[in-house]
């Protein structure tokens, strides 16, 4: 079902050290409801078969609307939540079968920066303690070494060392997000999930933080898994893009080709919905998505996008298109868009 774009010919992605992290048929299902009077529990298919390879030092952006499963995918990839089925490999090691001890050791390399820099920093801890905590828990070194590392981390994200004594509420949103980044980078990870990490920031601050992330990626050889709903940020920041709809990837490609020539109708409609900062282009008739996202508890038969797709035909209502390779790109559609 999946083509060579997603599964390199080497057969085992494990042996290919250009691949940092890969998933195979990853699923995460939640049971909801149920109980004595509620009838049988229903299943939410939050992630429903995701196969993906993330290459070393790339920025892979995952885009989609709220509820499509992008945050869940980011968390399951790091085993912050356990997958229902499927495998996750990090540099050849199967994370899904890993015991608590070895997983804990590997966590140093796998980190996450959250969206809301206020909710994700403990308000009762000084910045110095916030940064020291992950260092201590991974046995970084002596207290003096940890102190030095905290100062180094602050400088790395462009903040003065005086902030070590401050509390999160004394910092602005942009500064707090810098702390969130510094904390994630404390133990020198190489794979970082950024979950809507700049979405809560004002546009001028957002640009500063994106520039910082970009510089750090170059300096520290980081790989980013960048979860966002903001396509404009993706366009400027990502090397490759995966488009997610209702728990599935519907299209994967390089940023260039995806924006120049989207293959999946959903990708095209998502891109055409972004307001463009050019008043001369307003009023141009643009295709618009109809209706609302179907419930992940009650997925439509066939292609799960067909209820919103302006091009849906009979087969789309019956047969689920898998993610297929098309001219070196991957798309899950019976009738990929042509030029």
């Amino acid at each position: 079902m999946t083509g060579s774009v997603l599964q390199p010919e080497t057969g085992t992605a494990a042996q290919d050290d250009r691949i940092v992290l890969s998933t195979r048929d990853l699923t995460k299902h939640y049971r909801v409801g149920g109980g004595m009077f509620a009838g049988p529990p229903r299943v939410v298919r939050a992630i429903d078969g995701v196969t993906l390879d993330i290459r070393a030092r790339e920025t892979f952006a995952l885009v989609g609307e709220s509820g499509c499963g992008k945050t869940t995918l980011g968390r399951v990839m790091l085993r912050l939540q356990e997958p229902t089925s499927g495998t996750i490999r990090y540099r050849g090691t199967d994370l899904t079968g890993l015991g608590e001890g070895p997983m804990r050791a590997l966590r140093k390399n796998l980190q996450i920066v959250f969206q809301d820099p206020f909710a994700s920093l403990n308000p009762r801890m000084r910045i110095g303690e916030i940064l020291a905590e992950p260092l201590r828990s991974h046995g970084y070194g002596t207290p003096a070494e940890i102190r030095d590392r905290c100062t180094e981390l602050l400088e790395m994200v462009g903040l003065r060392r005086q902030y070590l004594r401050n509390y999160p509420h004394q910092l602005s949103g942009g500064q707090r997000q810098r702390i969130g980044i510094a904390r994630a980078l404390a133990n020198k990870p190489d794979f970082v999930v950024c979950d809507e990490s700049v979405s809560a920031l004002d546009v001028s601050i957002q640009a500063q933080v994106l520039n910082l992330l970009s510089d750090l990626q170059d300096q520290l050889k980081l790989t980013y898994f960048f979860i966002t709903h903001d396509l404009a940020v993706v366009r400027q920041f990502a090397d490759r893009v995966g488009v997610m709809f209702l728990g599935r990837l519907v299209e994967v490609g390089t940023t260039e080709e995806l924006f120049a020539r989207p293959l999946h109708p959903y990708t095209m409609l998502l891109m055409s919905a972004v307001p463009r900062p050019d008043p001369r282009k307003r009023g141009e008739d643009r295709p618009m998505m109809r209706g609302e996202i179907p419930s992940p508890m009650n997925l439509p038969k066939g292609c799960r996008f067909h209820t919103r797709c302006p091009f849906a035909r009979d087969i789309c209502r019956v047969e689920d298109p898998g993610l297929q390779t098309l001219g070196g790109r991957a798309v899950a559609c019976h009738f990929p868009l042509e030029d």
Partner: protein
């Protein structure tokens, strides 16, 4: 009133809060107009005063901590700046209505949607339940709520975010207000739903002639929706222009910085390092003495130590910047 007179004309709006550490002026001498049937944007970052402008106009600034004053606020020719709270209540919801960012938190979760959407009719027009229900149904139709009959008796949690925001817009428009203030009406919505809501608001303006103040941090929305734009920074208007002028001839360095730092879906990955404005928005309790933007401004000059006035730089185009007050034009090469 003549058809050419603006529906809203604000002059010298000033809002202050008093607290333990003294008074903070969150709006300083804010003046702007909203033409009839126009969509006028208020754009700026958090803390710029754009939402506070809306709350001040609506008479919703909490007292006694907050204090609103203005030379005049003419709504359809009538000065509402000195009205008592009771008189203001009669205007709110009838003549000026507001749509907020988060439709879930602005709707009562335990009351049916139609009762809430129709509430302004009960308050301002004293209509009975069946008349209200019928009007709500018409409004649901107008704002494009599918199967409107079945939605009347829904509770807010039974509607999606997009439908809730449509219901909020229906509530805002139900008394046919002279002015609708939309405060970040699509910020909590997905981009596809946002596009639907923005199209709805544009249609309403075209069909019903509603005048709209659109408050947003998103310059893309400004470009798609607005006729006139007011750029706010640290409680002041820093630039006012026709939307085309603003995007093509931005005059204030802050506006130019904002425009440059928008990630553009049309810019190639090669341009990955984005232009950004250094520093951050100043604390309103500790404002710099002169131009409030000067500490972040790459064009700052000695005279920026004194506060600049909002002065014309072109037809219907003003900026609060010494570059223009001094008669000096911005170097061509620096234009976007």
């Amino acid at each position: 009133m003549g058809a050419d007179d603006p529906i809203l004309s604000v002059r010298g709006l000033r809002t202050e809060f008093s607290g333990d550490r003294g008074d903070v002026r969150v709006l300083d001498d804010v003046s702007f107009d909203v033409g009839r049937g126009k969509i006028v944007g208020l754009v700026g970052e958090s803390g710029s005063g754009k939402s506070m402008t809306a709350l001040s106009l609506m008479g919703l600034v909490p007292r006694p901590q907050g204090n609103v004053s203005a030379s005049s606020i003419l709504l359809d020719g009538r000065d509402i700046s000195k009205l008592e709270p009771a008189a203001m209540r009669r205007i709110r919801g009838r003549d000026i209505a507001m749509v907020f960012q988060e439709p879930m938190t602005s709707l009562n979760p335990v009351r049916k949607v139609w009762e809430q959407v129709g509430e302004p009719l009960a308050i301002h027009q004293g209509l009975g339940r069946s008349a209200i229900r019928k009007r709500v149904l018409d409004m649901f139709d107008l704002v494009g709520i599918p199967e409107p009959k079945t939605r009347l008796d829904a509770y807010p949690h039974q509607l999606s975010g997009g439908l809730r925001q449509r219901a909020m817009i229906a509530m805002g428009l139900i008394c046919e207000p002279k002015l609708l203030i939309a405060d970040e009406p699509t910020t909590a919505l997905d981009v596809t739903t946002q596009a639907q809501i923005l199209r709805l608001m544009r249609d309403l303006r075209d069909r019903v002639g509603t005048s709209i103040i659109m408050i947003t941090h998103d310059l893309g929305i400004i470009a798609e929706m607005c006729d006139e734009v007011n750029v706010m920074y640290a409680g002041q208007m820093v630039e006012q222009a026709d939307v085309f002028d603003l995007f093509e001839r931005p005059s204030h360095p802050y506006t130019r910085g904002l425009l440059a730092s928008i990630p553009r879906a049309t810019v190639a990955r090669a341009a990955r390092r984005m232009p950004s404005i250094p520093g951050m928005v100043p604390n309103l309790a500790k404002l710099p003495p002169g131009c409030r933007f000067a500490p972040r401004c790459s064009d700052a000059m000695p005279q920026c130590q004194r506060p600049p006035d909002l002065l014309p730089v072109g037809v219907g185009h003003s900026a609060r910047c010494w570059l223009h007050s001094a008669g000096a034009a911005l170097p061509e090469g620096e234009m976007r």
